[in-house]
Symmetry: C2
Subunit: 320 residues, 2 copies
């Protein structure tokens, strides 16, 4: 009987669930609408039905060892989701306990960025690393910090919010209600906002001027940059600069051996890695120069959510 | 026979050494000139003679359980001091091994800020805390970060350099060769530099205008502030603001339950605590509001160096 875990990633619109083996292979997966279930118990029951079907769909028998869940506002210590603004459920939801009613196995909850870091450690480029940080550069900027081989949860369970480190006091408005947080600069959305700012500041020609600001996104900026558009290139340069400053500061704090980038913006490749590396060389404190690598995540983006969530469960089992 | 450890704090000019019991009582102590010993082996031999004398001076027999050493550029992992710019010794000095020739006990080395944090955890206000940070606000700004009850050393052994987090790119020149690091703002020296900047910016009367800039220090600024001097008061306010920003960012990173302040500037009491608390309330991300206390170190300043170093040894022994 093959030992497997479940990886469940809960999103505001949809959730994905998959059966994952110790090597990170997703043996079966399915998607469920999160929004359709205003009552969380119904959601969990539906997940359970799906899970049974997934197990039956396999050629071999499996033994479920644990369930890992990536979810917004997840509290690792309590196994709860707490006041999630982007989910249909309200208050404090004891999700781990709800799943334990169906499966008597370890159920581990944390946010998606911590799950991504765990995926990197168990299945990806951070195998064997004790100190690293994963930056997920999507709509926002999430981060999972690994210290001594463990995700950093801190006193509250909510540590690892590098995206909400204030880089520019009084700067760009942030969804958290404050201003100048990193994620408004170093993320797919941040890149688009930087591009807008540059379009307002500079006078040179750019095909990006033809795009309405609410349609401007990191993909379009990347395409323009590849064609040599000067605004787009400066936009990536500026994004790399502020990302490198954040990395230099994170290194002064926790001295990791690697920083991994994942998420939409990381797909821009050299456009983002080159300036980030250049400014890291300039900005790192001398004692840390040459001690930290900047790496692309080795987890395929379309599998990251399930693999990361599953890795949470594997990690819990392996460290028992 | 009473179990004790040694605490040794190595400074550029002088070093202090003391015998410390499990409760943090310094049973005997002495001072030795560091500068007088250009050959490190001679320094260690002299320390050994001093230690034997200290032991003889006691009323009761003691058992030496370990030696803790606080030193600049100390590498915890290797037990070495590495290229210390402010010491008379050069290169990589295997100090732990040198002391082990005289005492066959655990010998632990780290920098003085990590030692201060350890002193706080073993003997001071952080007893029983698993996640906290100690800021030592002296000439510079040192920091010791405790995660899951352990000092954070990171991949290199040099983690915890919050004083060298860049708060203002292109800002004040720093001793590390870069610009805008926190310690040039939030430290005794930083306060004096802020005062100078305000004296240049503002036009109002201040008794601080009579003091040559190289004689301006945090004590004089504190005295003036107590008399209501507006420049001095604004100087403390600004220092508290940037310190609070640093704390809010550190909380986003590691979510500690407390921040301890120690060192010269912390003695200014309400002058520094009040603005720092006020700006922390303004600056902390909502999910962390009310989760972190700002506290004065409970280790007496004149005993901190020996107690901190000794605590390193006690911690090593207790966690064996």
């Amino acid at each position: 009987m093959k030992e497997v875990t479940y990886g469940l990633d809960i999103g505001g619109t949809n959730s994905v669930i998959g059966i994952v083996d110790r090597e990170g292979q997703i043996l079966a997966e399915d998607t469920v609408s999160t929004r359709k279930f205003p009552v969380v118990e119904d959601f969990v029951e539906t997940c359970f039905s799906m899970m049974k079907k997934l197990e039956k769909s396999l050629d071999e028998e499996v033994k479920i060892m644990g369930i890992g869940i990536g979810a917004p506002n997840a509290n690792y210590y309590n196994g709860t989701i707490e006041h999630p603004p982007n989910l249909v459920w309200e208050g404090i939801i004891p999700l781990a306990d709800m799943f334990k009613k169906y499966y008597d196995v370890p159920v581990v909850l944390t946010n998606d960025a911590n799950a991504a870091a765990m995926g990197e450690m168990i299945f990806g480029g951070a195998k064997g690393m004790k100190h690293f940080i994963e930056y997920t550069l999507g709509t926002g900027l999430g981060s999972g910090i690994v210290i001594n081989g463990k995700i950093l949860y801190g006193h509250t369970g909510f540590a690892g919010e590098i995206g909400h480190i204030i880089m520019k006091p009084g700067g760009r408005d942030c969804g958290c209600g404050r201003q100048g947080c990193l994620e408004n600069y170093a993320s797919a959305t941040g890149l688009a906002r930087t591009t807008l700012e540059l379009l307002s500041k500079r006078r040179d020609e750019s095909k990006l001027r033809k795009i309405p600001s609410n349609e401007l996104n990191s993909k379009l900026v990347a395409e323009a940059a590849k064609e040599g558009d000067p605004i787009a290139l400066e936009s990536f340069d500026y994004t790399g600069k502020i990302l490198a400053l954040s990395i230099a500061n994170a290194v002064a704090f926790s001295s990791p051996e690697a920083i991994f980038l994942s998420g939409g913006l990381s797909n821009a490749g050299d456009l983002i890695f080159k300036p980030t590396r250049k400014y890291m060389d300039e900005t790192l404190q001398i004692i840390f120069k040459g001690t930290v690598k900047l790496l692309l995540s080795e987890i395929p983006e379309n599998k990251g959510a399930i693999m990361g969530a599953s890795a949470l469960a594997w990690n819990e089992i392996l460290n028992k």
